[in-house]
């Protein structure tokens, strides 16, 4: 019948569900460490992604099956210092996609005049 979906579509829906479910769990994880661990595991389990890594201020969890380390990455310091023109070395590596993430946050500006 018309409602029957192809295997491909079913898998796509399943992936979408997986990502959305993982997204809804983020808010209940209280620490950067827990968030990092969870994100890496959750994304790494999605079909089409071999492994995922995450870099947050003060926390870095690298891709599974990778010997790369960014603990010594000088750019991480820049990130922590709040420099926005930050460049992640992984984006130059083949087979890697680097997604920078951030948020807008309200800042109160007080002028002396």
């Amino acid at each position: 019948m018309g409602f029957r979906k192809s295997k491909n579509e079913t898998e796509k829906v399943s992936i979408y569900g997986q990502i959305l479910a993982a997204q809804s769990i983020l808010y209940v994880l209280p620490t950067k460490q827990q968030l990092g661990e969870f994100v890496v595991e959750a994304l790494g389990a999605i079909p089409g992604i071999k492994s995922a890594g995450l870099c947050i201020e003060g926390f870095s969890k690298l891709c599974k099956e990778s010997n790369e380390t960014c603990q010594d990455c000088p750019n991480l310091e820049l990130l922590i210092a709040g420099k926005v023109d930050f460049f992640c070395g992984f984006s130059e590596k083949e087979g890697f996609l680097v997604i920078p993430y951030g948020s807008f946050f309200p800042t109160l500006w007080v002028s002396a005049n």
Binding site: I49, A52, L54, C63, I99, S103, F104, F105, T107
Partner: protein, 183 residues
């Protein structure tokens, strides 16, 4: 209020296949949700720190108030029971407080003098210039000492009293301490 961009980090996806392209946008959204979560965590942390600071200040203030209240209580008892009569007026000269000794010496009770001017006990024996000089001395921040002849409620002169201390207090009150000494 303005908004600034705060970058939290990078999500690294390794060996993503063709299939990934179809849901790349969802992963980007996921990364943004992660940023918002971190933003919330950061703000909660700021609030927690601010609350701890506030609590610390509150405790310090409470301690200070308790200490000062204790001092004031002691002072109040001392003034209330002093042998010398004490009058406290506001900057306009209205009486705000008199102690028991004042009531005993003049015959007025509290209710009769609160809100009134110390002129109430003026015997009229001193010329206007006398009081003018007295107030000028006080208002210039100096201590005035001298003898004032006051009047009792009954109209009899209470005798000449030595004003041992009359000074301007920082809080905008005059504390007039009338010595108990009869001359």
């Amino acid at each position: 209020m303005e908004a600034s961009f705060r970058r939290y980090g990078f999500l690294q996806i390794k060996e993503y296949g063709r299939q990934f392209v179809e849901y790349k946008q969802l992963v980007v959204n996921f990364a943004n949700a992660l940023a918002m979560t971190l933003e919330n965590q950061w703000q909660q942390e700021c609030l927690r720190t601010a609350n701890i600071e506030l609590e610390k200040h509150r405790n310090n203030l409470e301690e200070l108030v308790e200490e000062q209240t204790g001092e004031l209580r002691k002072l109040s008892i001392a003034v209330g029971r002093a042998f010398g009569s004490v009058i406290i007026t506001d900057k306009n000269g209205k009486i705000e407080y008199v102690n028991q000794a004042f009531c005993k010496m003049t015959g007025f009770n509290h209710a009769e003098v609160i809100g009134k001017n110390p002129q109430l006990i003026n015997s009229g024996k001193h010329p206007k210039q006398f009081f003018q000089e007295l107030w000028e001395t006080i208002l210039s921040g100096h201590r005035w000492e001298g003898e004032i002849c006051n009047k009792k409620k009954t109209g009899n002169y209470s005798g000449s009293l030595k004003v041992s201390r009359l000074f301007w207090m920082k809080m905008g009150k005059f504390l007039i301490s009338l010595g108990f000494q009869w001359i």
